[in-house]
Symmetry: C3
Subunit: 213 residues, 3 copies
């Protein structure tokens, strides 16, 4: 059973990188401020798909980032960039909805995976929670900063970073309560995935913090 679950985690991880690359590439193709060429599409796809994990590994300092060690991540990110370039016109409607779902699953898994790595490196729960969040949303933030704007997750809108943090928190709670890592990972991922999916379905939004000045 465990090996099946591990395969499932691996699948979600890979799909998340692939879908992240597509969404980063699409954002480049559709950008109206800048006219991105192939370098820009690949660059923004890589940043979106791999940025969070690279940030996580640079912070943990346990050797080169996984994205540079396991070559499959680069291959997936590159494939996603080319899918975005070739099929940009058709990535509407159902395809986009499927991508949102996969992205939600990856959001949950990335958050939990970042938190797990942090715990393994000896960090305490609060920093591990933060690192889970960084892993899950870091790629999108890097993509936005590289596009010359503030991270979208910083602005009022549908729950995203909060879903990641809740997923990490659920994982930490389950871990603290004595569940095995596999069970905690499933619970945390499902929690992040669930909150994000519900936020999309029912349009749960965060309010902008207004200045009282």
């Amino acid at each position: 059973v465990i090996s099946h679950i591990d395969s499932l985690f691996q699948l979600v991880d890979f799909l998340g990188v692939f879908v992240g690359a597509i969404s980063g590439g699409l954002m480049a193709v559709r950008d109206t401020r800048y006219k991105y060429d192939v370098v820009g599409v690949v660059g923004l796809a890589f940043a979106t798909a791999l940025g969070g994990g690279i940030a996580r590994d640079i912070i943990l300092q346990k050797g080169p980032p996984l994205a540079f060690v396991d070559v499959r991540y680069l291959v997936l990110a590159l494939s996603g960039a080319f899918v975005a370039m070739i099929f940009a016109g058709r990535m509407r409607g159902r395809a986009e909805r499927v991508m949102v779902l996969i992205d939600a699953a990856a959001l949950g898994l990335f958050a939990v995976a970042g938190t797990t790595r942090a715990l393994n490196a000896g960090l305490r729960p609060l920093p591990a929670l933060l690192l889970g969040g960084v892993t899950a949303v870091g790629g999108g933030c890097l993509r936005d900063v590289l596009s010359g704007r503030t991270p979208r997750i910083f602005e009022g809108g549908q729950l995203y970073a909060i879903a990641a943090v809740l997923g990490s928190a659920a994982f930490l709670l389950s871990d603290r309560l004595g569940d095995t890592r596999e069970v905690s990972t499933i619970i945390g991922t499902l929690c992040g995935f669930g909150v994000r999916s519900l936020a999309v379905m029912y349009d749960w939004q965060t309010r902008p913090v207004r200045s009282q000045d």
Copy 2:
């Protein structure tokens, strides 16, 4: 005496992180280009308060950044973010002047602390000076880049980065002249603090470098 001085350094360090988080959070609350939500306020507060130290530790590569190891930094940064959100309307006048003073003290201390860590890691004085500057101003730079703009310290205005570099230089000079680390730290911190405070008081400004084209 030494333990008292260490406690004082620790206090300035903690206050600096707290005030940094408040100022980053306030900037998010008051931003007119983007409508930040709670994630944005916390994100910009964290970036401002912890960005410089994280950059320093990532460059020195002696293990995970202090902000991820000593959980008090995260707690302080989080508290600062919430203070900014709740008291944004009252953070004017005297409160703001107190924050500028604390920030000036932290500017001096962060610069010296970054330089000290660089020397301890075996770096030579010039790189240690640069790393002191990065530690002191890196958080504000990260905040500005995450807000989709150039770092404010890069533009003409009241001395800031230069105060940090002068503080580091005073520390290095004192260290080179054979003073103990405590004495050098006090001298360097006071120098950075003094230059920055005087710049605020007497409005010492840097001139924009003008193109002769």
Copy 3:
């Protein structure tokens, strides 16, 4: 012969950092959106000249970045910044063309040097290729992001990142075919230099990827 070649590599490396700093400083002096002061000019010069190598070393995690260990890099970058400030008005016409040539040579060498370091750290060819590209173009990207805009290399225009990647690829191919590191380095650097120079001479441009929406 080998020691002569090593000296040549070192010369191109140093010249590349120096010219990178000048070009970053000039961009700051000539910027029309922001009014940079001396801190901004030095900051953007450092980012341009040293950013790529620092990114490479932070990713490889083999100790502090070379730019912080070998003090000559900082001295060169600082000199370049001051040259930009003092001679900004005269950096037109022939001086600019010479700088483009030196930058093209440095582009090739930086790409190959990044790939070499990646191979030495045990990375496989594809990540090593990416790291070569990051080393060669990372400084310019950092400069652009610090200027509040998207990296210029992401936009349609004269081949730049592609020249770096082709140089790295030529190096990897030559290395795989059994050439010595010196020969492979020369081939890779000349390839990157050649493609970039020809792109400038004949105005080879990448096309913007257009959205079919």
